[in-house]
Symmetry: C2
Subunit: 288 residues, 2 copies
């Protein structure tokens, strides 16, 4: 096959069962230049060693996944969640500094769902705003961009009360764009009648912190979290979305992040190769 | 138990396996005043007999479900779908005339998903607008209101490319409000950050054609279509949504429409009784 697109980044969740060493190795061996990491495999080896391994890999670092859990009511759990987000900010800064030139210090934030027993969606959304306000100072000090990720509305009750790109941008608007931006993930926002205008707005406001791609296909998996497919295997029009992101000025790496039982069961070498092929076919033609 | 709320209407899908005679009987026997019907059980007995049975029941008729399938490309199938919608418009007018005083001639429209093999969401949405333009003349002549129903975005690819109330209102804006309105269904729109402002807008524009309630709870059913619950069994805040609908000027009947395997397996008498109880607890306190 041809060399992978130089802007392709493998989000580590796509090869979920690979440990950090394996993830870095298969990604670099495939000729891919960038990777997005998850906290659990990083912390499995420890941050210092993880940073060294990343540096040795020669890969760019694109995002750290993930912070969030901002909807908890006041109390001990919320304080612990905020402290954990501060550690995630530090990890992000350390890894971005260890990655190859062109790495970006972006921490993806998944807001969290409704607290158990609560129906107060508006209140939960307010607490997300409050939490980001609390963490913005830490992020700015560390040179990290917090990327609010709107999740598909089917996750609004149990995973993320931030459901649209417009809503994420409304929250981000209180902060400097280098401190708080948004994650633009095709799976979560492809359906939105306002998606193109909100991508353009995100560009104007300087807030596209990361662009992530995977595909949507029905029937959904029994666990709807695992319904993410290789680009091109579903119904998302990567042309219009990718052109909108390009036109909005985004010129950095593009992650493929897939959660799917079959993908996770495959060998990571195969998954990385298939990801590069899918990206080349579905996304690359729409890049400058 | 107390008498059911006088504004409660049983959508026939809630007692899916009851034929028309049974649906009318159990609804009236429970002291409920109104019912929304589905085309299949009506056509099973024939429209004339269905209208007579409805008249004999003494129930108000609230909506007819459903028209739609508007996303098909030009061709024979699309022409057949539009013809079928014209029949649905006639059925709606006939049934509304046969129902008790206060009946409403409202045909609920489910737009349809992406045609097989298509990724052109924007084009599909344009075809929905075109189809409604074609049918508006028929609806106006028959005195029927077409209610565009935004469906939850998790159905955007396979059931309805109309995903938000704002989008439904944008489509409806080309037509007179008594001809084209929107269905406000809590299950589909509860998550929308713009839901309260769009309900207020729908009221200002005179376009709340029907208000339907049921609840959202995770985990979703393996078939996500069947994830609708009795009001109060999930996380939807019926207070804020119902008050918004009331404040928007909606003063007609309110349907409960539940798709759920357990509800469908229960005896229709039980389902109707539980529906009345759930409505009284979750919705009635927020009505004037």
């Amino acid at each position: 096959m041809n060399a992978p697109d130089p802007r392709l980044s493998i989000n580590q969740a796509t090869i979920k069962h690979a440990d950090l060493a394996t993830a870095l190795r298969v990604t670099a061996d495939a000729g891919i230049h960038a990777i997005g990491l998850w906290r659990e495999p990083v912390n499995e080896v420890g941050l210092d060693l993880a940073a060294q391994m990343l540096a040795d890999s020669g890969l760019r670092f694109t995002t750290h996944c993930r912070g969030g859990f901002f909807t908890l009511p006041e109390g001990r759990e919320r304080i612990a969640a905020l402290d954990d987000n501060r550690r995630a900010i530090e990890e992000t800064a350390t890894l971005a500094a260890a990655g190859a030139e062109g790495s970006t210090a972006v921490l993806v934030l998944v807001a969290g769902g409704l607290p158990a027993g609560s129906r107060d969606l508006i209140g939960a959304r307010e607490r997300v705003r409050d939490a980001i306000g609390t963490l913005a100072t830490d992020a700015e000090a560390a040179g990290v961009t917090l990327a609010i990720e709107p999740l598909h509305p089917m996750y609004a009750s149990d995973r993320a009360v931030v459901s649209t790109l417009g809503q994420a941008l409304d929250i981000a608007a209180d902060f400097a764009p280098e401190v708080v931006g948004a994650a633009v993930d095709t799976f979560h926002i492809w359906w939105d009648p306002q998606v193109l205008e909100q991508i353009a707005r995100a560009g104007r406001e300087g807030r596209i912190a990361t662009y992530q791609v995977c595909d949507w296909k029905t029937p959904l998996a029994a666990d709807p979290l695992l319904s993410r497919h290789y680009p091109g295997d579903g119904v998302i029009d990567f042309g219009s979305l990718t052109r909108a992101v390009v036109d909005a000025g985004y010129d950095r790496d593009i992650e493929v992040e897939i959660f799917h039982a079959d993908v996770w069961a495959d060998a990571p070498e195969n998954v990385v190769r298939r990801t590069a092929e899918a990206f080349a076919a579905a996304v690359s033609p729409h890049l400058p």
